[in-house]
Point group: C2
Chain length 396, copies 2
């Protein structure tokens, strides 16, 4: 019998308790013995199926030598960070879906875990139940990872899908997402790109082996995206998707950012719709592989946490690939990364061509929408300075 504790009984915490219960036969077969939730840390006691497991005192978990793994499902940084440190220090493995904490403090917590000879695992922090971090760090371990990019946030992808399908504005589509429970009452972290930004930081950390800090990574969401540009893209066989990207620069540096992009409609990410997520990893030997599925939801995320619990119990904590150097030097401003650019300007094709040379026209009229050749965002910014720019997006 292996005993674990859950900290926090929100969506993820409750999901973990349910997965442990409902999939007990599968878990026991693979682990060789049964897994049981012994304690649940809550702030306020509540009635319900887990009432008898609840405690509001972290010391009950910290001091219980039978508890070998703690699932941190508190969220945020403050309490989650303090309790994670104490649990690791007490020699317990810690598993989490908390992307904010991993993006901000993961490197330090991994070092502490290694020192205490326990694991700190967080597969569920990116892509919910979609396996991504494990495949990236282990299955692709013989690759030099050159790029990781993808649709990392289901809420914004749902909103974009609705804008395309029904011609809804961003505000209307957001309201619909909230009604369906796909967006929170305060949707800021999702729609401003912060949630995707934390995830791309974790992916960049693991892909490149160096700390990429959320504070350095430009994050642009979809709040300023106009339905007009989504429609122009659609009619010209492109799609607009909010992408997180992390790229190894040719000179050895690395960059990362979150922004809406135009993608050709044949691109594997272009057909990822609704609340689905998908991440593409580009390895120098493997080429591009993509991982796709529902990136959120209680049960998918919880099942990834429970798999990490099982992994933590079996994995040696000394594996170098699940971790990265705290050295954050070498981060390059993503404006230095070349790509095509989409512009919509008040002006003619001649104006566009005068500024950018050869362009691909997507729409003409009083306004002109076009794609440039590949150039850095810095250069695109300089070249468009004489134009009346109504919209500017990156293109993949």
């Amino acid at each position: 019998m292996i005993e674990i504790a859950i900290m926090g009984l929100g969506t993820v915490g409750t999901g973990v308790a349910r997965v442990v219960e409902e999939n007990a036969p599968q878990i026991e077969r693979k682990l060789g013995e049964p897994l049981r939730v012994k304690a649940v840390l809550v702030r306020h006691f509540k009635e319900g199926p887990y009432r008898h497991l609840m405690t509001d005192d972290f010391k009950d978990i910290e001091g219980d030598g039978d508890i070998r793994v703690v699932v941190e499902a508190i969220g945020g940084v403050d309490a989650a960070y303090r309790y994670t440190k104490r649990a690791l220090a007490a020699g317990k493995h810690v598993v989490t879906a908390n992307k904010q904490l991993v993006a901000e403090r993961g490197c330090e917590l991994l070092a502490l875990a290694r020192q205490k000879n326990v694991n700190y695992l967080f597969e569920a922090s990116v892509g919910g139940g979609i396996p991504i971090l494990h495949p990236l760090t282990q299955c692709m371990a013989a690759n030099r990872i050159d790029e990781v990019y993808g649709i990392l946030n289901g809420t914004t992808n749902y909103i974009l899908t609705r804008m395309v399908r029904t011609g809804a504005s961003f505000e209307e589509a957001l309201r619909e997402a909230q009604e369906k429970g796909y967006a929170e009452a305060d949707p800021t972290a999702d729609v401003e790109g912060v949630d995707a930004g934390r995830k791309i930081c974790i992916l960049a950390d693991l892909a490149f082996g160096h700390q990429v800090s959320p504070g350095e990574v430009p994050m642009e969401g979809i709040t300023k995206l106009s339905l007009r540009d989504v429609e122009i893209a659609q009619q010209a066989a492109y799609r607009v998707k909010l992408l997180g990207r992390a790229v190894r620069m040719p000179d050895g540096g690395r960059t990362a950012y979150v922004a809406p992009h135009l993608l050709p409609s044949g691109h594997p990410l272009a057909n990822v719709e609704d609340v689905f997520n998908a991440v593409v990893v580009k390895g120098n030997a493997t080429g591009e592989v993509m991982f796709y599925g529902k990136g959120a939801g209680a049960m998918p995320t919880a099942s990834a946490c429970v798999a990490d619990v099982m992994e933590a119990l079996q994995e040696s904590p000394q594996r170098e690939e699940i971790g990265w150097s705290p050295d954050a030097a070498g981060f390059v401003d993503p404006r230095e990364l070349p790509s095509r650019h989409y512009f919509r300007v008040r002006g003619t094709l001649e104006d566009a061509a005068a500024a950018f040379g050869r362009v691909e026209v997507l729409s003409e009229g009083a306004e002109t929408a076009f794609l440039t050749e590949s150039m850095t965002a810095r250069e695109a910014g300089l070249r468009c300075s004489g134009l009346d720019v109504l919209a500017h997006l990156r293109a993949l």
Copy 2:
């Protein structure tokens, strides 16, 4: 310094040697020490960059205590099976991309590996460089896996893509695939569904924990597929794809088979084109996740083998989830699995409706093409007995 041997210097073997050399910095950083190929087993000595490593005597590898991992890249069953057994018996980890050997003898070889406290790993046997087996067995370990299905063979997917895009017949598209190096001179294993069949057996073994033997699994390729049906499907917003499927039956049994299927064009697999592969795994907690990429090629496959070498050195061989029971009981004839069915008949819609009740018409004329409601293949076979059937495919 960790030393390994490669058996066989064909596409995969040469790729492994190249990956070890070209990605040495990445591999060393993750492994904590350098990795080196010490010996290569060949049948005939050949000039080339690895000439100084060649031996034609397996005993040189078997008896070399410094060689900790052997990559079996011989292919087929006979010699590959004998040498794998001897390498495991000599206490060496063995890694392979050999789907035939794993499908036929994997269970026995895993048991031997466990007994000798070494690993037998074969991530590259399914999907080449796309991580699938690891994510399935480890990242999704807290799920009950209900189904695994996908496009498991790049050659046939390339042929189908060309038939759709250029209106080529099967024979013409096959010739083109051979010219491009996507199909072998003897394409039987690919086009008859045997290659996909071996892969779906391995996926079924791991997903359900019981031996699913290639001899029991019906394998139908694309040689009998008519361009007419591919075109009818296309025009009705369906696609024809060769799928391997492994399904957990509601009563606890399991089934697996390979056959061409109609898929709705919005299905994630419908847009998987050319030589790409994609596998969908359905877990009871995670829902459907998909893994996508190039399923073959020297470098992708080799990089998956090298990742397994690294894994073998770090992983405990006693993990229950990488393995399955030799008990093959419980295999159900896939004709008992319900699905929709596609028929093209010489006859009218009335004939179709008389036999099947409600149908979805895809094409009418002297011939009628339609989709039935969901029913077992056995029932579909009975119901169509009075019709002049020109084509019959499963639909997803």
